[in-house]
Amino acid sequence: MSTVEPFELPACVTRDNLTGPYFPNTSKAMLAAVIALCAIFALTSFNRLNHTDLWGHVNFGRWIAEHGALPTADPFSSAPTSQPMLHSAWLAQLTAYEVEHWFGKEGLVFGHALLMAAIAGVLMWAAVCRGAPAGWAWVAGAAMFVLDLPIHGTIRPQLFGQLGAALFLLGAAQLPTRRHPLVWLPIVAALWVNLHGSILMGIAILGAFAVGMTWNALADRGWKIGAAVADARLGRAWLALALVLAAACLNPHGPLLLVRTVLFGEHAALSSISEWQATRFSSLTGMLLLASLAGTVALVKLSPRKWELFEILILAAFAVATFSAIRLLAWWALAWPVIAVPHAAAAWQAWRSGAGFQPAEARRTGFESAHDGLEIRPTDSTAMRTLMAMGVVFMTALLAPPSFALISGQARGDGPIMVTDTPLYLADDVARRDLAGNIAAPMDWADYLVWKTDGRLKPLVYSHVHLTDAQTWDDHRAIFQGDPAWMAKLREHSMNYVAASRKRNPELTKAIMVDARGQKPNVRIVYQDQRCVLAEILPAK
């Protein structure tokens, strides 16, 4: 019987000449995290700028920058209503405008990708802090990216809110063992409340955390309230919530903003907007929600980790919220990975070790194991992996369109950057001719028309539908559905122009074309292409 000599690699191959005191080593887990973040950055950067409400926000940002103040009434609509302005996103609007002003549209795409990578990075960190092994961190980022698919393609102030929520989840993961979140969580809250009106989600996260901590403290102290109150974890949790609530009042409306944010969804026009409608199971949002719920059920059975009350509260609240409105998937997509990944890692390790499920008393909480995942064995880290990580970053910078544009100094132009439904050519023609006045245009086109004409065109309705009164909203819908009284309604609202999409408003387009060719026309076509018709409304005879 022959024996095989163990094969040894020569020293010139195995020797690590890169490792030294001046160059960092990188673990496998860190390399995986860098790759995941780069992938998220690159994939997000391929999204085109969605025209839906982006330009509405940038318009507000420009107005704020130019006037050095917040508008007290709608500055863009042809018929400003008495609807009070809600300045819950003024800082995001101003930021978006400044980014566009200094770095152009490539800057917006770059910022979008950077925000998504930052959200993923914070979530990965939070998952590790909650007890997931460092090698599993990338799974949290990837899971967030997949669950957030229906949401993250569109750049809007909500992305800042998502970053805030990710930071709150990180804070909640660190608070049991660290005090520094008490310093930075209020700062994040103060910024968040001015960046997007979703601060209530952060308060919900910290509220659920405080309740969960209270439950844990009581359980650990034999349900003795006095002893539980003395628990440092409890004090930190409630103090953090109080500080965040106080910081959330640092906004143009003070504490009232929180109340008005709750009532925001009550506006009649919002019920017509798809993202405010209940989730259908057949939609991508519905399928992602159901898949992640199924995963949760599986983890409940398989995970040897103890399920915290905090986890249950957060999952239940955000799942119910997402069923009620599609756009709330944004918060489920953040919470689910941070909670599920540590359980998934525990279940995987249990299965790999073949030890079966540990008895309940042996289960550790995420907080007790919070720092296990950060341990990096000396042998795991190499300088070669640092080089590999640098290579990945280098390639990502070249592959991602906005970073390549930055590096090469060659912007792609509006066509490849913006979604194809943006009324690029219509807006360009309108701006070229210096058209000004009132215009009835499809809601999602109106924002871009306002942007390109510097507010000289004033739309009947634009994407900020909550600023429109019910009658105007109904008239706008009737006009664009080709109501026989379209011309009367346009005149009633003193419109100077009407723009219609051939595809989405075929009845109105036809009515405009027929009228323009008639013996006594009410309109004159001033621009048309394969996608749209723009007509000037002639004075009534």
């Binding site: 005191p21 001046y22 160059f23 960092p24 640092t386 990580a389 640098m390 970053v393 280098f394 910078a397 070249l398 590096i407 090469s408 100094g409 060659q410 912007a411 792609r412 132009g413 509006d414 066509g415 490849p416 950057i417 690029l424 050519y425 360009d428 070229r432 001719r433 004159r524 076509i525 001033v526 621009y527 048309q528 292409d529 394969q530 996608r531």
Partner: protein, 406 residues
């Protein structure tokens, strides 16, 4: 401390340095300006000489009826007349502008004002995207002196062989802003081109004549447009859609195909697509031709329309528009897509008879379509319209023309 700082700062610094090096070494500066391969436009000569379409005498008689009208002045008429008569035209009659005057009407604002008057706004102006043409839809006034179709002025300049370095004299533009060439017009016009346009026929013709064999260009919005996409735009819509019953699309396709014969720019698949489209139209023309020889606007149906019991001027206008345009593109199209020659001869003879019988006032009232018909007849006779007209003029006119030419 230094070691810690180095471990933190070194990797990002190295990546940034590598990206900077990449920019210096690998990123070439790009100029988005369209760079045509030649200064002179391609000449697309007629392929056939079919005397049965119109005899020399018939042709000269028809041409004599479509001399350039200047009253009432319309840029559209000037464009059609220049396209028909060419640069060499000189009628030795002050009532009719010469070919050079018609070209200079476009190129030189001073000549434009001689015809249109000082109050007429200029044909060209500068906007933020460069040189722009005053279009029909722009305003409700002065529409007669505006350009009627997108890029029709440029395509006409190309058709009459205007080099790209020919200067354009603009109004009220001093210094650098006042200096422009046909090349600038080509660049700025094509840079405004996009695939959502309703009218792309004249842009396609200009592109084929000036820019071939370059296969693609970048527009103002950063979209890279390939010539195959322009062909798709011309082939895909319903046949009757577009200016003049959709027939300028066929002319654009014929010009693209012929230009490609001189300098290869189209892919084999695209060329097959063009041929298939032309062949389909050709078959429909055979099916839809009336016994008299003309086609109606319903030619895409493939069934011959009943002859109108009593044709009024409007009907005749439509019939000449369709029949003239059809013969015009067929004269440039390759042999393999041609209908039987009998179809062409019948249509040509109907056009000849009808144009000769029409009231002169009707011709001047709707000049454009009639020039297409006359040009179609000249193309099918492989003759320059001006030379064909000149042949049968009195000796005095011919001598004057020869002396002018010398």
């Amino acid at each position: 401390m230094l070691q810690r700082l180095s471990r933190v700062a070194l990797p990002p610094l190295v990546v940034v340095a590598a990206l900077a090096a990449y920019r210096v070494i690998a990123v070439a500066s790009t100029d988005d300006r369209i760079a045509p391969a030649r200064n002179e436009p391609l000449i697309i000569a007629p392929r056939f000489d079919e005397p049965r379409v119109a005899t020399d005498e018939q042709l000269a008689a028809v041409l004599d009826r479509v001399k350039p009208p200047v009253q009432p002045l319309k840029t559209n008429n000037m464009v059609h007349a220049l396209r028909l008569w060419g640069l060499a035209a000189d009628f030795h009659d002050p009532r009719f502008p010469t070919g050079r005057q018609m070209r200079d009407y476009i190129l030189d604002d001073r000549v434009f004002r001689q015809f249109a008057g000082d109050r007429a706004p200029p044909l060209f102006y500068r906007d933020r995207h460069g040189l722009a043409v005053r279009s029909f839809d722009e305003v409700t006034t002065d529409q007669d002196t505006s350009s009627y179709h997108a890029d029709d002025l440029l395509a006409t300049l190309a058709e009459v062989g205007t080099p790209l370095d020919t200067p354009l004299h603009l109004r009220d533009c001093e210094g650098h802003a006042g200096k422009a060439t046909v090349g600038d017009l080509l660049n700025d016009s094509l840079r405004r081109f996009h695939l959502d346009r309703l009218e792309y026929e004249w842009a396609a013709i200009s592109y084929a004549r000036y820019v071939f064999p370059q296969k693609q260009f970048k527009n103002l919005w950063g979209d890279r447009l390939h010539v195959d996409q322009i062909v798709d735009e011309a082939v895909a819509p319903a046949l009757a859609l577009g200016p003049c019953n959709g027939l300028h699309r066929l002319e654009a396709l014929a010009v693209l195909y012929r230009a490609d014969e001189q300098c290869r720019a189209l892919g084999p698949h695209t060329k097959r697509k063009i041929l298939a489209h032309m062949r389909r139209v050709s078959d429909l023309l055979v099916q839809s031709q009336t016994t008299e020889g003309y086609w109606t606007r319903r030619w895409p149906d493939g069934t011959p329309a009943a002859s109108p019991a009593k044709a009024d001027a409007d009907d005749i206008y439509d019939l000449i528009l369709v029949t003239g345009h059809q013969l015009e593109w067929l004269a440039l199209a390759p042999e393999e897509v041609q209908p039987p020659r009998e179809t062409i001869v019948r249509a040509g003879q109907w056009l000849t008879r009808t144009l000769l019988a029409l009231d002169q006032k009707d011709i001047e009232a709707a000049y454009g379509p009639y020039t297409h018909a006359a040009r179609a007849l000249a193309l099918w006779r492989n003759q320059e319209p001006y030379q064909a007209w000149l042949k049968l003029q009195p000796v005095s006119v011919s001598l004057s023309a020869i002396q002018t030419h010398k």
